[in-house]
Symmetry: C2
Subunit: 444 residues, 2 copies
């Protein structure tokens, strides 16, 4: 598609481009435009049908949006801004440089500007910063028929019409009613009689991940957001919740691989940004690992007395690290899905102990066979190695499951306690266990 | 809440339990019931209002569902089954043991049984196995008013009424129309004139993750599923897509920590299941790590000649492993979000090379300073260590980003190439690089 458009552009067959774009989905149109060279973007954008242009604009990445805005006439900017939903406008303003923001703000009306400022004031990653203020607002005294009239009159500017919110005169949330229920009720029914009053809501300062979790748990299409006085101020819709879930999972994975998270797609991250994300953790882990090295130095005499011992170092370190990262990953993910709570700690410890013993015995038995049959080491050395595996498995599982919960309790993100840090800690712990057992058993 | 219910149960104050449950959300009611002891579940379930009972049943975990079904009278089972959506029924059947499945199938009508069999035949993790067959089916010749009448008549049994599907006489999908568009159109308008004909759809065999990605990309509430003849057979709704995304992210994280994925929440997984998930990978990685050990043995002479060299082994191994897992995690996540394609490989390699050089130089410089000022080793040893870091960083980044893409190309899940395996490979590679540089530079 991109190549075809580029060819048509070169041959100045603009009407054919317009024809090709006519029935395109906004998300696809945005993706296509992003791939074109910057200087062609404004031209192709002007060939989009008007409605598609405004919709596609909201789907584009920041770089393309900036190129387009820089080239927009006042009229074009007016058209795009009047079509955009508030939450998309806020996203746009957060990403643009100051001079573009100024230009944008000249083209939104006073009310919108006030709402934008309000949303911008909510903390990053809160439900308030994610919500949209464009929802359908009904009164409990309306009939079903009046509700439909109201939806028809105001729905075009609402992000979703399918869940409607019933508020009192002070904008306090009284209940919700879905279009499905409206459709299935008699036209003369009063909303107060059919609305759901046991409403799940979040507060403006609720973490956006929590809002997404509620949407997912209750299979909602939107969840209302209320302020400190329990007045309805906005809604978080399911499409934004899905994006939040994806972003949070990506962030968790990045932190679990010892990187500072970023919210840009990979191909948009520069080498320098990559460096900034990765180098600090690498440095920190490298310095931590030198302590592991000094443990080896400390036991140099024991190693020199029994040279074969040093060949098991990588295997024991890796077993400790792997066991620990299995436990920590499991606990981190369960914490983030809300599957476990602090009061489950005793049961978790018991479960991890059991798993550790089963896994430890399996590894020790296989190792013992290998040490005796293939490596043909002395039985005492084999015992030292296998005993170490058992103890390491137990310690690694307990450290792996306790550290993320401890981190969370202390107010840190539990993901910092994922594989790389846990592995580094357990490398050192495994070696200390190993050398102490060796010194004790072998009398060296 | 749980304690209150248990207390009321003990005092046989059943009507108070019923009153407390009356306005509960189905998802909350299900969570509450799951926490009660098995013998109280049927009793409390019977105290739920009828509609809530049926809805809550679909939200419960398999164990609780089984306990309830075992105790259901025929009439109760009929009531619950008639209320359940087809996709929930299929999930139920997939989880229950054979005797319970038999009991369930006696209580669904012939048509439903046929549909269940059809869905059960689609491959696990396909859109076909995830979809529901209960959607609103309209004809292009209908007016908006007729469409609303049709929705009112059939909507109660549909999982979503908000996106309606226009099909021809052979059930081929012609277009979609949303209730929002219907509400905003004149009542006499013909659907053919307002429906969206450029419809995104998936096939029954499309991977469920791909279906979820399409829903998320286009902000859909549902995506249609068509069979090989392009006839509409079902829809995948956004709530199921969200669950799929969560599950897939969890699976990816588990595989990235060297565990076989499971689809049960942590607290439901037994110690034995944990062992089955974790031990095979631990064994495999342990055996791989013994090769790393044999590399150390192989270079024993060099190590003996210069004892200080062995103290840098953990640091170099960990740097290689951490760098590699940063690159592999980034690439794996980008692959799974569809952000990168094979044709991006040259650009990815370039980016990772640049990142590796920046990170490598940073680590080498810090290390050089530490080696000279704190450890006070000879300048030649410091050079060996720092040169190794540079080479290891470069190799680790390239291996880390290439292996997941190679795995995917060969038809494997790219996540197997995540941290633990990549680290184990890179441990060995780092040591080989280290010892070769040491032998060459120090002439040992």
């Amino acid at each position: 598609m991109k190549d075809k458009i580029l060819e048509l552009l070169e041959q100045r067959r603009y009407s054919e481009i317009a024809a090709a774009m006519k029935d395109m989905n906004p998300a696809d149109a945005a993706a296509l435009l992003e791939e074109l060279p910057d200087q062609s973007k404004p031209l192709v954008f002007r060939l989009f049908p008007k409605e598609l242009a405004a919709e596609a604009f909201a789907y584009m990445d920041g770089d393309s949006q900036e190129v387009l805005i820089q080239g927009f006439t006042d009229k074009e900017l007016d058209e795009v801004m009047s079509q955009m939903f508030l939450d998309d406008t806020v996203d746009l303003i957060e990403e643009m440089p100051a001079n573009v923001v100024k230009k944008i703000l000249r083209h939104v009306d006073e009310d919108t500007r006030k709402m934008i400022n309000q949303v911008l004031n909510y903390p990053k990653d809160s439900a308030g910063s994610l919500m949209t203020m464009e929802y359908v607002d009904l009164k409990g005294s309306m009939t079903v028929e009046q509700a439909f009239d109201h939806i028809r009159a105001t729905g075009v500017d609402s992000e979703t019409v399918y869940t409607c919110y019933v508020t009192d005169s002070r904008r306090k949330l009284e209940g919700i009613v879905t279009v499905r229920e409206l459709l299935l009720s008699p036209k003369t029914e009063i909303l107060r009689n059919i609305m759901e009053t046991n409403v799940k809501f979040v507060r403006t300062h609720t973490d956006q991940e929590e809002a997404a979790r509620i949407l997912s748990k209750y299979d909602f299409l939107a969840v209302p957001v209320v302020d400190a006085e329990e007045r309805l101020v906005g809604i978080v819709t399911v499409d934004d919740a899905m994006d939040v879930m994806q972003e949070e999972a990506t962030e968790d994975m990045e932190r679990m691989a010892a990187m500072a998270p970023s919210d840009k797609p990979y191909m948009k991250v520069s080498v320098f940004e990559n460096w900034k994300k990765r180098a600090p953790w690498l440095l920190f882990l490298m310095i931590s690992a030198t302590f592991t090295g000094s443990i080896i130095t400390h036991f140099e005499a024991a190693l020199a007395a029994n040279l074969v011992l040093s060949s098991f170092i990588p295997m024991l370190m890796s077993t400790g690290g792997n066991t620990g990262s299995q436990a920590s990953t499991t606990v981190i993910r369960s914490l983030s899905l809300g599957e476990i709570r602090y009061r489950d700690i005793p049961r978790i410890l018991l479960k991890e102990c059991g798993t550790a013993i089963l896994c430890g015995v399996t590894l020790a038995v296989v190792n013992f066979a290998k040490l005796m049959l293939i490596d043909r080491v002395s039985i005492m050395v084999a015992l030292v190695v296998c005993l170490t595996i058992l103890v390491v498995a137990l310690v690694a599982n307990l450290v792996g499951c306790l550290m993320p919960m401890l981190a969370k309790r202390l107010g840190f993100d539990p993901t910092v306690m994922a594989s790389p840090l846990i592995s580094t800690i357990l490398d050192a712990v495994s070696l200390i266990i190993y050398f102490n057992i060796a010194v004790a058993v072998l009398n060296i």
